[in-house]
């Protein structure tokens, strides 16, 4: 982790897009969430004991608890997301619980954008051909995918809907402005 005084989000100069029009489209950053990549042999029991949630075994899914979420990224790869400033303890908890897996802190490598509101799906649909209808992509769905020509990890938090988008740090500002631009027609129409 970077020293606190040096630490700056790649989105530090971007203002949140609030639901000020009643249009139901809000975009905020979820700053400094702890993000840990786990690869290798992971026992479901060990994860349950360590974090109190199940290990998602199916592609395109995630399991969430009060503080943590585990996202399926591949047959032997997961992303564990936790509250800000918990990455150190999370790494040691996971490394102890999972002796046959690689536990890597990627907190500083990714930024997280939260997009929510009834129009969120419309906006996201401009960046991906994935079927984001709740029938196909319900709350708890998660996947790494190509979005607006950059790789993201898309996680549907709830059916309101609320989406969290984890994106590599260097792409965060690009994705933020892309989403702002994609949202503009909807926001203008409702003004």
């Amino acid at each position: 982790m970077a020293e606190a005084w040096q630490r700056q989000s790649p989105l530090a100069r971007r203002s949140p897009m609030d639901d000020d029009t009643g249009a139901g489209l809000a975009m905020t950053e979820r700053e400094f969430l702890a993000k840990i990549t786990v690869r290798g042999k992971v026992a479901d029991d060990a994860i349950r004991d360590a974090l109190g949630i199940a290990l998602p075994g199916e592609p395109n899914t995630a399991c969430s608890g009060k503080d943590h979420a585990i996202l399926w990224l591949g047959p032997d790869e997961w992303l564990v997301v936790g509250p800000p400033d918990t990455e150190k303890e999370l790494v040691s908890t996971l490394a102890t619980a999972l002796p046959d897996a690689a536990v890597i802190d990627v907190t500083e490598g990714y930024a997280t954008i939260r997009l929510g509101g009834p129009l969120a799906r419309e906006v996201l649909s401009m960046g991906t051909p994935l079927d984001l209808h709740p029938r196909e992509f319900a709350a708890g769905a998660a996947t790494r995918t190509l979005f607006a020509r950059t790789t993201v990890i898309l996680h549907k938090i709830s059916d309101d809907p609320v989406f969290d988008i984890h994106v590599e740090r260097s792409q965060a500002e690009y994705l933020w402005t892309w989403l702002e631009t994609a949202s503009r027609p909807y926001r203008d129409a409702l003004r």
């Binding site: 592609p59 395109n60 990224l73 591949g74 047959p75 790869e77 991906t128 051909p129 994935l130 996947t143 790494r144 995918t145 190509l146 790789t151």
Partner: protein
Amino acid sequence: MMLIPCPWCGDRLDAEFTCGGEAHIMRPDPATASDAEWADYLFMRENPKGLHHERWFHAHGCRRWFHMTRDTASHRIVAVYAITESAPEASG
């Protein structure tokens, strides 16, 4: 735009994948292979018009390699199978 059915993730945009070329190429024993056999292994590919067994990589998704049998003329995808499996008989 073409959708490719990843055996793990399901239908995804073709841009999420990288093609690894012809599948099932066997490496000859370098101790006994002739120069011609070795050159054939290194450089020569089938390049058919029609059914082709290929290796594909889901680079922007689960990051897994898998096999796909595809018609190079129509882009019709005939079969998707694991990277450890040999080519399906019927579509051969």
